[in-house]
Symmetry: C2
Subunit: 194 residues, 2 copies
């Protein structure tokens, strides 16, 4: 059976589940599908030495990118452009030539539980999680499609902090481009106190 020899990136399927659980905290279905998505993109990388990643949703999928590629949110090679679509693009840094991999709704008909999960047709309680996980594993890359894309220049730029200064209010370092004081001291702190 096909599902018996599944590989995700450099991991066996079970190793990948282990890594997901350890990093993400639970075996979210989206992160398992995400593993297949990233794996397929890695196998179809555009030419070039270095690549960045765009993730089109902030839910689950960014962690698959972080676990299976050198791109992370902290090193800036992974960017989240949140459009709520379950897709990622890996693109070559210089020219922006990329491969977009997405969960293809037209390919989901053969997998009822998977289809219901993707289109949110069932509540979590109504889901048959075992069956869903089984369909995800067995379907593997069969439910994915690829598209060659070219990334717009404004999404290729590496964000640069620019000049920094000492905030006259809190005394911490902040990007001078933010104004006379840091964003927090100008009233946009996420804290009620402090």
């Amino acid at each position: 059976m096909k599902g018996d020899f599944v590989q995700i990136g450099s991991y066996s399927y079970d190793e990948y589940l282990h890594v997901v659980k350890s990093f993400h905290g639970n075996l979210a279905p989206g992160l398992i599908v995400g593993g297949f998505i990233v794996d397929l993109a890695l196998k179809n990388l555009p030419p070039g030495q270095y690549f960045d990643a765009i993730c089109e949703t902030s839910a689950c999928l960014p962690d698959a990118v972080q676990l299976l590629t050198p791109c992370s949110i902290g090193n800036g090679w992974l960017k989240i452009v949140d459009m709520g679509r379950f897709a990622i693009t890996l693109f070559e840094k210089e020219k922006g030539e990329g491969i977009r991999v997405y969960l293809d709704p037209r390919k989901l008909n053969a997998w009822p539980e998977f289809h219901a999960w993707y289109f949110k047709l069932k509540t979590k309680k109504e889901q048959n999680l075992d069956e869903l996980m089984n369909e995800i594993k067995t379907a593997g890359a069969d439910v994915l499609s690829m598209l060659r894309v070219k990334v717009k220049p404004e999404h290729m730029k590496k964000k640069n902090l620019g000049k920094t200064a000492q905030c006259p209010s809190c005394g911490e370092s902040y990007p001078l481009s933010d104004g006379d004081a840091c964003i927090a001291c100008r009233g946009f702190s996420p804290y009620i106190e402090g």
Copy 2:
């Protein structure tokens, strides 16, 4: 010497360097300082069973949170509120009571290379990287300060996709709250083609 028995989270210092290199790609000074920041916050957690994280910069520091806590960008427990400040807050999910840990500029005077790095007083070429890394390790938590904070309710909410629909243009699933079609199909795609 103090620096000989440094522990970061559940890692020895050298183990942490190894994990950083593997996940982040390089031994960024910010991620080493970040390790001490997260470690100090973990040791001073507010009461409660579950906590989320706020990271006040998108550079480097989010990866320290992801490596040392259960919070990741994909599971939504790590939120980046980018104010360009080198600080994180771990806060209890229900009441929002948190501990903010930050690199304290008043404590950096004893560490010239560290001070110059934090305030960007030297170019990368002018930096003495060995000395910088040595000062970071030896200083450890001595250059950090803590603050009890309370997180504003709007930053405590878990983002919810809400109802989804099939985009009439690309056919993929998208959040209905985004409008009649998905953001990409309404002209805000990050790609020139596709």
